[in-house]
Amino acid sequence: MQESSAGIVRLEGNYCMVYVPGYKNDVFVSYAHVDNIPLSGISRGWVETFIDNLSTKLAQKIGRTDLFKLWDDRLLAQNAPLTPEILEALKGSATLVLVLSPGYLKSPWCQREKNAFYDLLRSKNRGSNSVFVVHRDRVEHESCPEEIRDLLGFRFWEERGKGKEPRIAGEPVPQPTDSLYWDELSDLAGKLSQSLEQRRGSAPTEPSSAFMPPRDPTEARAKRPQVFLAEVSDDLYKARKKLLGALEQAGAEVFPKAPYPLTAVEYEQALGRDLGGCSLFVQLLSDLPGRELHGSTKTIVTAQLELAKSLNKAILQWRDRELDLNEVEEDSQRQILEGPSVMAISLEELQYEVLQKAFPKPARESHASLPTGDALVFVHSDAIDQALVKEICVVLDREQIGWVVPSETESPERVRHEFEDLLLGCDALMLIYGQSPGGWVRQQLMNCRKLQHKRETPLRALAVFEGPPPANKSELGISLPSLRKLVCHQGFDASRIAEFINEVRSTSPAA
């Protein structure tokens, strides 16, 4: 039976063009024919179906069905040698998808193809994120060629218990309910489309985020939260994948982007390089200690955690709440599981915690349109003191200082929201204490203090303007360190607010 790969298929339509300029193909799919032999009673092979579904999803990701080309070998003769046509296709492909299986590894043909492709990659000095490995079946880590071990992989199989062959997702045909198959296929399409976009020179498409406000794409990339989602033992692959999907969907940059080499020195170097820039370290734990590093007594779990602690990273650790710690065989692993930062919660709860840490919640929607300018004073009064407000605003105008007053609204919700928005958006606050009750002023100061922590910077100035009438003014009964009282009981005096204006003009915030 021929165990070959590579070839060509063209997408339907006469206008099929490459998506990435400078290449003849966007995606080259390399696989072993043995993996594409249809089972009895099935009309199409696994790889053929896979490629069709990948094409569909990729078209959705890229947004055009007629703008990318994808190679496989359906149109080539089964016994065709590594023809110049195939080599040409390899040379001219922007990305490669390897469908890895025991059959693929046994095929010298595929090996030659792979070597040729890597030679081409090296000669073009491109990064490794143009090669994606589809793990169609279980292949022991040690059996994998070195070139493949550390590439980004997508696992289309899962364990069925000890002594049993793994289940291959999508076999014999993918059922709509086979979530493993569709999840991995979608993730692969997402990574492929990002790679194609990067090679095309356009900004990577990122989903708009509920956790991060939209920004200029360049700025967005620079400010994306960086999260280290530690490599896990095999049994937690799906859990990590789920968390990874949610983080990437929200706009985070997640490390590691591909597995590290398992040699201790290389592993720790790579780990340090990636972890250094991350603000958050997330580690999923089970009773398994994970792979041991070569040339060290550490496992990947302990090496990751030790470095995160030494770098003082914010740490979130998780274990399944059903896990019985008494049944954990390895003492060192049990100690880690018993650590104070390990949360025994559901995966959805963990996802929520991680997203909250990585993306602090944005402020509620603003209901007030704020004037812009160098300095903005929020002049706040009860309705009864509107006349004083007008006089003060005239002075502020004269001094070329911006001011804002609340709009007239009757909805309690709007009143409160507007107060919050104005307080958060202004540079200084002046409360007018004329005919209004002292309790009103006092409550505003309390509210101001309550919201102070939401401001990015403290107020430059905070004052209570005590205007006429002089009689019946009760003591406010509140004192704040930065509060200034401007006393004008006998009538409006513009000079009394000069000091306040100086404070507003100063660039340094009030203490």
Binding site: T56, Q60, P174, S208, F211, A246, L247, Q249, L347, Y352
Partner: protein, 241 residues
Amino acid sequence: MMPHPYPGLRPFKREESDIFFGREQHVDQLLETLCRHRFLAVVGTSGCGKSSLVKAGMLPALDAGFLAQAGAHWYVADLRPGHQPMWALANSLLVSQAFGATRGTEPESLALLHATLRRGPLGLVEALCETPLPERANLLVLVDQFEEIFRYRRDIDSQEADAFVALLVASVMQREINVYIALTMRSDFLGDCAVFFDLPETINESQFLAPLSRATSVRPRSPNRRASLAATSSLAWSTRC
């Protein structure tokens, strides 16, 4: 022509707005809440007319462009959580035609959309980034009988229930894509909302407590009159033919 002006015990349907009378003020309040928060929870006792109010009152008002800020182009994904909330959502989205011809209704399209929705709280946003809505169009996800999610969470799959609710909440926290969420729920389940992150806060600011459909509010003379008019016009047409 409508067969008769009263649908009986079942809720009014979207296409029965012509026999749905007397709740314009409530509809206005729903639209205002929906406009402000992009999220609306219509809560009330069993049989008080929540679904009718939304389907025969609010949806036609949306189509009529009464939510001027959003325009009159609406896709409505109408679902009940049932036993498979994420599948129900994926299916209703495809049926709503919000994705146009780009995504068909064949099983593969459904499975791919389901995978995208399950990927994280922004699954719906991601799907709409991949296949954008037409310009000035909006998507309303209407989750009728939302209380079904509590039983699903308790008896079947708490993870998926949590993911489903997280997706609804996150979809309206963003503002770049025109997604609106409306749900109807029996008021005796209101306290159960606390099991979901961010849902109580979201409902607190966007809740509409549906009053009972009393005779005084539905003005029963109106549907009769409408039926009478329809019968007259039909008769006239028959005579002409």
